[in-house]
Symmetry: C2
Subunit: 721 residues, 2 copies
Amino acid sequence: MKKNTTAGLLQRFSLFLFLFTFSFLVNAQVITSPDKNFTMKFALEKNGVPTYELTYKKKPVVKQSKLGFELKDSPAMAEGFTVTKTDQASVNNSWEPIYGEQKSIRNNYNELLVTLTQKEQKDRQIRIRFRLFNDGLGFRYEFPEQKELNYFVIKEENTEFNLVGDHKIWWIPGDYDTNEYAYTTSKISEIPGLMQKATIDVHAQWPIKTLAVQTPSMMKSSDGLYINIHEAALIDYPAMNLNVDPKTFKFSAHLTPDAMGNKGYIQTEFNTPWRTIVVSDNAADILESKLILNLNEPTKYKDVSWIKPVKYIGVWWEYFVAGKSSWAYGTETNVKLTDDFTKLTPNGRHGATNENVKKHIDFAAKHGFDAVLVEGWNIGWEDWFGNWKEEVFDFVTPYPDFDVKALQKYAADKGVKIMMHHETSASATNYERRLDDAFKFMQDHGYNSVKTGYVGKIIPRGEHHDSQWMVNHYIRVAEKAAEYKIRVNSHEAVRPTGLHRTYPNWFAQESARGTEFEAMGGLAPDHATILPFTRLMGGPMDYTPGIFQTDLSYYNKDNTQRVNTTLVKQLAYYVTMYSPLQMAADLPENYERFPDAFQFIKDVALDWDDTWVQEAEPGDYVTIARKAKGKNEWYVGGITDENARTATVRFDYLPKVKNYIATIYADASDASWNKNPQKYTIRKVLVNSKSVLKQPLAPGGGVAVSIKEGNAQETKGLKKL
Amino acid sequence: MKKNTTAGLLQRFSLFLFLFTFSFLVNAQVITSPDKNFTMKFALEKNGVPTYELTYKKKPVVKQSKLGFELKDSPAMAEGFTVTKTDQASVNNSWEPIYGEQKSIRNNYNELLVTLTQKEQKDRQIRIRFRLFNDGLGFRYEFPEQKELNYFVIKEENTEFNLVGDHKIWWIPGDYDTNEYAYTTSKISEIPGLMQKATIDVHAQWPIKTLAVQTPSMMKSSDGLYINIHEAALIDYPAMNLNVDPKTFKFSAHLTPDAMGNKGYIQTEFNTPWRTIVVSDNAADILESKLILNLNEPTKYKDVSWIKPVKYIGVWWEYFVAGKSSWAYGTETNVKLTDDFTKLTPNGRHGATNENVKKHIDFAAKHGFDAVLVEGWNIGWEDWFGNWKEEVFDFVTPYPDFDVKALQKYAADKGVKIMMHHETSASATNYERRLDDAFKFMQDHGYNSVKTGYVGKIIPRGEHHDSQWMVNHYIRVAEKAAEYKIRVNSHEAVRPTGLHRTYPNWFAQESARGTEFEAMGGLAPDHATILPFTRLMGGPMDYTPGIFQTDLSYYNKDNTQRVNTTLVKQLAYYVTMYSPLQMAADLPENYERFPDAFQFIKDVALDWDDTWVQEAEPGDYVTIARKAKGKNEWYVGGITDENARTATVRFDYLPKVKNYIATIYADASDASWNKNPQKYTIRKVLVNSKSVLKQPLAPGGGVAVSIKEGNAQETKGLKKL
């Protein structure tokens, strides 16, 4: 975040709060962002319909757009309003995240709070709070406690995003249950023609029948404005999709319903999540925006000292490499938790065996990883998926060939943690009732982090991955985990909205199409250049990069799958995709084949003092530099899509004058995602703050750079860049 | 049960098992009951549709009726079957319930097990197991584990009960959520014309849109056959209503759907509940039938020594006596569990105060009651109902005026238990996730029994009180409670099906229109003569009898409500309605006004060596005598409907020759349910096994008799009956 270069003016934990409140009783209200680039105008239409509009550098971003709600069994809160109070405030402070891309985050906005009253509906009130930052707008609805509005059910939220043109958009289909679609890039007007093709098969999907896309929704206008629509602080409310009008370019909220088709059970006093619109004429600014984090609440956890980043390997990728291993232990396809699993017929391919786990622990210890994820350790995998079965797993009973206590001791002796795996098969009710036992089991056996999974159709049946009840479920799990000092990495959960600020032990999520799909059809070479502008806007992703053996026929000549990147691009991901949780996802033996490249994964930091997005264009390229937290080390990652390009890496964030050793991991000149992906060069050079690296990237390739201080001995003989 | 007089031939725990199995490969199979009164014929229709028919003493009871299933997304299991195996067996043994109406229960049946195969559906198999007892038929479907049928979803069960005539029927409307309807008595053909009127308002009801009634369904044919249709061992399956064809008199299964409209998620190996048809030409036999208990599994609990009957009073009836007390502490109507309830505005009418509870503990101790139920002790009652709110109660936080620890000590010092109350507001998800904490809290504070409540719309939203998920929920609660040695009395749960044999700590339920409705419109004077033939067929009811102050204008002259019985009829209920849990539901001060009548409630047993239904006719009268378990004490209760009648009480179960003191509690000659209901006589006489009491009962009245041994002093001057 470039503005953060001014952070030096602020002391640690300093709070600069300038609060001015005053009231109006007029129907149109205008606020501007602190830097004056944004203007937001609130107004009531003649029939008392609340609306807002947003401009950036005098260009319209969102035309007059309606706000409000349809309620169930109650008159709508959509019209007939009068403005009965307005308040304005300005805030400029900063705060320090527990982990993150920056040591300190500036929180600087002008606020407008409009109180609206429906005089003909027994004076029912709603408030709309707008916060206009230098990077965009956030607004939410607030339902104060009031006599005539204690409890109600939302039929739909009316919020509109009335866009001004036929923008380019990077989108995935609207869906109540999955975010694991591949991105389509098109004009808004082209979405209808592309929707069917875009709606590829995904486990337990529930595509929205009307035209809708998901958030974070990334767009670019023909005149070069980048617009990102998402939400912040999704708590006790369903996730929002966006209805699309391909002719008028009007987007509108489409909340995820429950089994009854209802879209939110509300008890006042209640605040909705924030609707966020991040805008810039520079794509890099979108990635540097901390607007969503700023709109989330600080954590209520008192002790956060135990919440630390994790670099891990796992018994995982081998499950995706055809025929190699299986989560299941037995050959049977109909098992119950009450069965005696020692009586099953072993399939001979079980991955989570004592021997295999020990091998991974050895590797993790040797190379300095914090943890080893082990999937498939617990009974129930024989028929875990697809049956809408409630009691799939008990989370405490290992397979006969996984010795919990022996492995606990083995790992502890080597200073490594085993990472727990709680696949729920989307049976949230079963997980909730076993949660205390499951976390107690972890605590008793030395586990301090868990990967959760929600593959399948949700139980309670009729709920969705993104419905209000499930939104609350994930938070319940995070809070319960915190009681046990356990970190959570959720897969197939609702996509993040910055809640890792409030629940910092929920430190990573999947919630998008990740590396596993490289083994199931592959990811498009531009996929990872889109993710930072979409999925990652909400929070850290457990993308599980680091696949060195990209051609999967290596394992089995019949396997035609391949990871659609060069090896070096996999290294770059550790920098381009921020997460406090990073996996080295490939098999240990593959890392042993490329020890020099592997060194970057071993070196790269997980937590950062500062971040500089050097160049970025969604769907094309991303180059990011970061400073390791508390260390004079910097890491740079640059990636490109299917096109070769030359990345420009600057070093102007380095302390002046001094030279540092940059280790540059680069694609070989004849490498590309589909030819010679494992060919790379590694060179060491001296750089200083004035250096500029022009680095060719292969098609589907990348660049990774580590920058460290070097003593005379180490720098001897190194050339300047 | 009259057959039990032969029980003397059997030793305790003796097992007489005569098992003959043999196989046929024909399509029609006939079995008879051990006493030859019943004949059941299984046959396949030409298209391979399985059917059964039932006769009793050569009269048809159920004409040829179809069996089978409609499945979701899979071909039906309804036709195309061939019989590939049949097995027969005979069983004659007896077992001892942990508590009950008899010390020993005879289990005597002939069994037919038919294995059916759908050759054109990949040899899918289903088994139907018929057990023909001397009191009727039970049959269930069994899905063996098989390659082509591991998991499936039931769309509907096809089971038919094709009745032979336009029987008289005592019925309540089919409903997915409530059993708390008043009974209607009519011909089957009259049901359509009466359904609308019968579907009175009940909290959280979901009347079935097509014509349906609930089970237990009690009928009487024009030629004097009594027929009762219900189910036994309802586990992991939705409850069954009965579709009614008012022209052909064909009834058929109508299972309770979930939110998706599905009617059961099945994993093989699986057995459905038993469908039960109890038949006799003597109404008393219906009440003596132990067929449903016999079809339930013995308990798996290892230690049952802690499961004992309970006689209790409670802070309860005062909530129904207009204006007297409230569950809620505060006047607020919008509260959250996170609120500080000490800050609420007290409404001044809170029932569960330290003072009031102590008064009840004193009374319980003085009169020998085991426990005091206290409702309204915990935070959340201010807005507990009607909002489909999930987090209504936490089950561990008392109101400010209820001192858990002080009351625990106060009760313990007096040898009385406080009975916990867990109203869930039908939020089963909330209850499940707090269950361990809630039971731990009980254990820590000396509670060993809990009354649960499920008032409102179920959460998971879209589930019903009687759907498969909730059926499993109640059992989960019972099993979890057993881990803490806690007894459960569930209100508003699915009606019982004999599961108190398997889960004996789930020792009573409401699941019907009980005494509370006497304060909300009143119960018809014949209501309690119907209940034993309907609701009580499944298991013990917490009917909460014992209301002495029947005219509720006593509390408030504007209160026009009244309990539609005489005082004596309330005494008789303790015998006519079997339960190991019995409440003396009236206010302590009312018992103090009638100490002589109250003596019967104090004396009456809760557990029995034997039971003799002396005379019974559904809707008209019931007279039952029982011998107290392990004591030479007998208790008789007789009730009538709105008509006066003379009950005939025999004493032929008394040991021969010897005289006993009978204390006869009788309606006064000018008493009736609506005039002088509190006028009664109490007389002591000597009776022996040859005595017969002809006792006039008032309209809406009853008679209660206690019979004890007396020494010379006690019997002196007593007349013979």
